[in-house]
Symmetry: C3
Subunit: 361 residues, 3 copies
């Protein structure tokens, strides 16, 4: 299987191949050039996979051994590693960000044809600018307003009264419920559901009664939302995702959650209703946040950690059970349920040891 696919890839790459030399890259993106500026670059690659004609990068010193072995034609490095290679190189204060820029240059997103596909169902009252694209079998509700160059992927369903800012792209099979708002230059991946009802129920006479969910979801600009992530509409007020937030896949955001600008959240995180997350936070994969708590700016939560109380000071918080071999776990976990008794025993021992002393004195 692999041989055929690799050949196929080469072909794909040849088609999109742009080419320029190292000096031109430095002219366009800045940085300090060391070595032969005439070396031609047509592709980016990792230290391990790069071939002749590729440029690669070194972001962390622990990858220095791979740098020594790379077949790349040039490398982007930080000032501390400027002499770590003899390859033609670009020195940049943030090699990874520099690399992101040139990767975008060599790999521009495929152009999307503007216009409405004949199989799409668009309500008459929807405003779809000429520069926008509505894919096959997409469905656009009443009074929807799309900004310039918005791309609605195939199979998406955009509910009534939704507004989407310019340059935003919904990949295929995204669902947006009525009255929600998505800002400009957002990227929303397939399977995302925005604006479904929050989990609002109340018990009456032994059965659950639904609380109507009448708020919306408001999403700022430059937000990315990963595949199959769900963001519930507010119960009464709105659920709010501020500018520049980055959400990975399969994240669940409950009703009335508020996420501050430029916070990044890894995959499989759950945030319960009405939690308020600050700006510039980072939530590790599969971390879980209780409802109705507040997390201030610049908090990091480690992967797999359950946060049950407000975090009112910036810093990193962790609470995961360290794994071990199953045998060792069995031995230790039994004691975990008896920690209070172990503590009692220690207290008793201290007491008994103290008692004779008192006698002696």
């Amino acid at each position: 299987m692999r041989g055929e696919l690799t050949a196929q890839r080469q072909e794909a790459i040849l088609i999109r191949r742009k080419s320029c030399n190292l000096s031109e890259i430095v002219k366009r993106f800045g940085g300090e050039l060391i070595g032969r500026g005439s070396v031609r670059i047509s592709r980016i690659g990792t230290l391990e996979s790069a071939q002749a004609g590729d440029i690669t990068f070194l972001s962390q010193s622990r990858y220095l051994p791979q740098l020594a072995k790379t077949r790349a034609s040039a490398v982007i490095i930080g000032p501390e590693a400027r002499d770590a290679t003899h390859l033609p190189r670009i020195v940049s204060g943030n090699p990874y960000a520099y690399f992101a820029g040139i990767s975008e240059y060599f790999n521009p997103p495929a152009a999307v044809k503007s216009g409405i596909h004949r199989s799409a169902a668009v309500e008459k009252t929807a405003r779809v600018p000429r520069s926008a694209s509505v894919g096959a079998c997409a469905v656009i509700g009443k009074n929807v307003r799309l900004g310039a160059r918005v791309v609605i992927g195939a199979g998406c369903v955009v509910g009534d009264d939704v507004t989407i800012g310019e340059g935003t792209r919904l990949h295929a099979n995204v669902t947006i419920y009525h009255h929600c708002h998505i800002g400009a230059r957002c990227l929303v991946h397939s399977g995302v559901v925005i604006g479904a009802d929050g989990f609002g129920i109340v018990k009456e006479g032994g059965v659950w009664k639904k609380i109507p969910q009448i708020g919306r979801v408001l999403i700022g600009d430059d937000v990315e939302i990963g595949a199959n992530t769900t963001i519930d509409r507010g119960a009464i007020d709105d659920t709010i995702i501020e500018d520049g937030v980055k959400l990975d896949n399969q994240i669940q955001i409950g009703h009335n959650v508020h996420i501050g600008a430029h916070t990044a959240i890894a995959a499989c995180v759950g945030i319960a209703g009405s939690a308020k997350i600050g700006k510039h936070c980072a939530l590790g994969g599969a971390s879980m946040i209780y409802g109705h708590i507040t997390i201030v700016d610049r908090v990091n939560v480690s992967a797999g950690t359950l946060i049950m109380k407000s975090l009112l000071q910036a810093g990193t918080y962790t609470g995961v059970y360290p794994f071990s071999s199953h045998q060792r776990w069995l031995k230790n976990a039994a004691h975990l349920r008896q920690l209070d008794k172990l503590a009692d025993k220690i207290r008793e021992l201290e007491h008994r040891l103290a008692a004779p002393k008192r006698k002696q004195s």
Copy 2:
């Protein structure tokens, strides 16, 4: 962004604005009126966001400070808080449920046009009553039977031989596999998948062989299912969700699970195959339930807890690692793997302290 959106919302609200006075509300929904019954109400709101013309509610005494500051025109309160405000108010034994009722009154779900959208693909043998609605690009399989007033959202795919009870609504992009049954008055949110194959595999000669999954999913009446939740079909017998169960988003329910009536399950929960959950249980967010175990009625499982054994007594069960600052966690977690050695040391200390005593006696 917010200013424009707020204006837009006001407009939306004006359109749907109903209005009545407090006396009329009490006449319709019961409760005791205290204060001026002529005050006009046209909207519901939270203690914090309510404006003049809004009615709000107090469900827990910890929100009393917000009550003092609310701008609402009226409030629903419990008997214990009847004198906690001078505002016109309705006293009810269950203010939150009371509020749910009037919220529904002020915010009825948008009417859905009955009929089959021209872009939908409906098999000839499917039974779609006149009062039902089939959205754009929805696909209805052979022998499907829809009840009265069923709403099938845009982009839904309903497999062959599926039956859906009256008044049930599937939001956009829901998938129901063949032969499954959904009861009456259910609400199924976008991205839900009902009836996919359970994870049934057996190793033979070093490779996995699939066990055909030939059971169904049977869902009772008045069930709500949150966005992107998945419920697998049974392996041989059926997977069963009883009446009145409420499921939040991104829940995974394995094959042959049985969930008792009126159980509520928060987001991100996973229930492994053949687990049996009782009636009136509550599973906290991201809790995980082993397969082939039994949980009796009225069990609560705390968020983030993994249940590995049957729970045969009602009550609340918890098992989560309490978080702390990362530094403190590092200090403590190391000991966790050595708990058995700590216990040994304590035992030895006890022994050594006991030994001299015996000598002395």
Copy 3:
């Protein structure tokens, strides 16, 4: 509800009823026949649900009590249980795998009509063989190549340049991004998203900048992927799922992950970017794997366990907090945050007990 449905099921079963006798089964599938070979079998069932005319199986000795009570007409058992029943029986070394085979015989997957549904949108440059099936409202991109007998379910979106091997089936509402490859005889369930962008971001000037995700997802042959699972495309190189891997529902696989052949992964698992999982591994439900780590062949990870470091030896690894009643948990969890202090106290006690001894000596 149940009565009606049971009746309906009987009907469905009658329609698909094949029938043969026990001797014919043994002739076709092997094994040793004990008892009356002429007994007619038309269906498979569990020990508990089987009726006259059904064949059932005993896979574990703990189900022997159910065997005594089963109403089945015949049973498949292992050699160790050959005398555990008087029923006509087939003795097989692997009763569960044997059962899987005859279940497939009695329950062949419903035939799918080949051809392209009139409501599907297929690009002219796509290659769809006559034997393939493209469902209603499915969307097939440019240069897509489908193998023989491929089934694309209703509402699926297959991106440009995707290749899919022969006999593979995508159930409804699956999304495959551009340039990805899926092997032969795979089964992909509804809501799956393959090839969405990985979570590649880098901070520059206080805001997140996107790293273009230009790798692909390559999936081998005989892979099954459960509902709503997401597999991200590689950042630069590819994300790879080898032959025979079995993935349950709601699994998240980050960019550049590599999963070895015949590994099975239960529901709700998250695997962070660039993790490398070996062959023949088993990851329990809701286990979480850090990025950039290596797990060797034949490792088992217990349900709910977070793996933070490479696992370089085969075996079973566990790290979950054992649950208890909430009251007991409260008592013990408090001490967990003070484990280092408990350890200090024990050390001090040991020291104090040792000191007098030294004096005595």
